[in-house]
């Protein structure tokens, strides 16, 4: 069986497992944690699509998350719109943000692009606090409605969108787009010499990344039922990057595993919540020195070789 077939089969197995676990365990607490984990998985996968493939690490992914979440908040709380509108609007708003920040920053080299994006998110965070009459300032917006009264049903909705996200991103990554994005990582000048419109692909991949991040933001907002400026915070972007490092950059599915692992780990360490950042940081350092390819993706690749 070809590699791709095995990949999809493995994904199916994981999907089924993710669907069954909360239903079997029947605990509202577990379902809640898993919902959050799935949102992080969407954020990590969407980050990986752009940054993992092109190698241009984006330190301001929270910009798109916050944009999506606040859009959901505005529509639901300020305008009384049904939560379902958020699913359409949030990605669009996030994409708009990506256009605004992307055009001027994508021509910058690696670390500068990273930090420019970080600045963008930080500015957004400050603006959100300053214009508190509209955004609720530090307290944010409260009183969002969930999609469903049943937490389990909402979990399945989130799982559906995660599956859709990963499927779409993988399909694109395996298409000529993916090859081109990886070539951009290799050498931009050579891409131009090969007749490729590099700017277009960079912006487009950022837009796609933003769309799914915004979607995750909306789902998160309608789960937490509140949005705050923390959703634009630098630390959120960093946590997501760490999840991607754990998962294995460039694989799209690896970061999903990384996100779920780290969220579960965080919960398990809830008793030691002061040490949480310690743990994240230690993990990051270990990965950088010993497992630069990550944990999840290499593990899967090994399993896959055995299975074939």
């Amino acid at each position: 069986m070809s590699e791709h077939r095995t990949d999809w089969l493995g994904a199916l197995v994981v999907l089924v497992a993710l669907a069954l676990v909360p239903a079997i365990l029947g605990s509202s607490y577990i379902t809640g944690i898993m919902t959050v984990a799935l949102c992080f998985a969407m954020w990590a996968a969407s980050w990986d699509f752009m940054s993992g493939l092109t190698g241009r690490e984006n330190f301001g992914h929270s910009l798109f998350i916050g944009a999506g979440a606040y859009t959901a908040g505005f529509l639901n709380v300020n305008f009384g719109a049904s939560p379902w509108w958020s699913l359409a609007a949030s990605p669009l708003v996030a994409v708009a943000f990506s256009l605004v920040i992307g055009f001027p920053t994508l021509r910058l080299r690696g670390p500068y692009f990273a930090l420019a994006m970080l600045s963008g998110a930080a500015v957004m965070q400050s603006l959100t606090i300053i214009f508190s009459e509209y955004t609720g300032g530090q307290d944010g917006l409260n009183g969002l409605f969930p999609f469903f009264d049943s937490e389990l049903t909402q979990y399945y909705l989130t799982l559906f969108f995660l599956a859709a996200t990963v499927t779409t991103l993988r399909l694109v990554a395996n298409s000529p787009w993916g090859t081109i994005l990886r070539a951009i990582r290799g050498d931009e000048a050579s891409c131009q010499a090969a007749g490729i419109n590099v700017t277009f692909y960079k912006i487009a991949s950022l837009m796609i990344s933003a769309a799914f991040a915004g979607l995750g933001g909306a789902l998160y907002a309608h789960y937490q039922l509140q949005v705050g400026p923390d959703l634009f915070a630098v630390i959120l972007s960093i946590n997501i990057i760490i999840m991607v490092y754990v998962g294995g950059m460039g694989s799209i599915y690896g970061p999903v595993g990384g996100a779920i692992l780290l969220i579960l780990l965080t919960e398990a360490l809830r008793a030691f919540s002061e040490y949480r950042l310690w743990v994240y940081t230690l993990i990051l350092m270990l990965i950088l020195f010993f497992l630069p390819q990550g944990l999840v993706a290499p593990l899967w690749r090994r399993l896959r070789t055995i299975a074939q």
């Binding site: 000529p176 090859t179 081109i180 990886r182 070539a183 990582r185 290799g186 050498d187 000048a189 050579s190 891409c191 131009q192 010499a193 090969a194 007749g195 490729i196 419109n197 590099v198």
Partner: protein
């Protein structure tokens, strides 16, 4: 016969240095033309100007009757003007085949489909087919050169610009590459412009030679004449007295 490429009064200045000065020439379709000159003569700058990687201060360039200056590099490629780089720049982390595949996705040739098969065909043209699955990271220099050519060919150019294709190659690799270039010219009907400061190889391949020094065109003509042209001799031998090879003037 109408010129495929017509260059008129091209100028480029970097701060205090006039890298390209009032360069004009024309290329007939189907010709192989060489650009000769010592390091620092402005050859690579000329290529960069023609391919859009640098912007000219003044001048006009017409390719196939259409103006070329001011276009982004990728657009120029899609008009049918491809180039290789002096310092090869492969897509690291990807296979040899994928490196050529990328060029198959260029808008100019995308509609042909079957990118993988076409990429493979290009590799066969240049003799790299056996290494299709290898990662470029481990490829020897000579192979990287061929890869660059394969990638350029994949965009089905009318004009191919080769920037010092023989640089850094051992004597055993030079002849096969020269043969390849000649064969490509014959089979594909390509017009070729080669920068090279290795006289012998250039003389063998080129029908006509443009000699440059200090950013200017100092002579044009058939190889036999150029080699005896006083300005050319001065540029080469003169520099040898000061101790050339490597550029008292820096990079081309």
């Amino acid at each position: 016969m109408k010129a495929l490429l017509a260059v008129d009064g091209l100028n480029k200045r970097f701060g205090g240095l006039q890298a390209v000065k009032d360069v004009s020439f024309a290329l007939e379709p189907g010709s192989i033309t060489g650009v000769l000159g010592p390091n620092g003569a402005g050859k690579t700058t000329l290529f960069n100007l023609l391919t859009g990687f640098m912007t000219a201060d003044t001048g006009k360039v017409e390719f196939d009757d259409e103006p070329l200056l001011g276009l982004a590099p990728y657009r120029i490629v899609n008009r049918g003007l491809a180039r290789t780089f002096q310092l090869t720049r492969p897509f690291v982390g990807m296979s040899v085949l994928e490196n050529v595949e990328v060029a198959c996705f260029a808008p100019r040739v995308r509609h042909e489909g079957h990118a993988r098969a076409r990429a493979h065909a290009m590799l066969e043209h240049v003799g790299l087919a056996p290494k299709a699955a290898s990662l470029v990271d481990v490829l020897p220099y000579g192979d990287l050169r061929r890869l660059e050519i394969a990638r350029a060919l994949a965009t089905r150019p009318k004009l191919l610009l080769l920037d010092e294709p023989f640089a850094g190659l051992g004597s055993s690799e030079i002849q096969p590459l020269a043969d390849l270039i000649r064969e490509l010219h014959r089979k594909e009907g390509l017009t070729i412009l080669i920068i090279e400061h290795k006289l012998r190889e250039l003389m063998q391949l080129a029908h006509e030679v443009i000699a440059m020094d200090f950013g200017e065109v100092v002579a044009t003509g058939v190889p036999a004449e150029i080699v005896r042209h006083p300005r050319v001799v001065e540029a080469y031998i003169g520099k040898a007295e000061i101790g050339e090879s490597g550029g008292a003037l820096g990079a081309a």
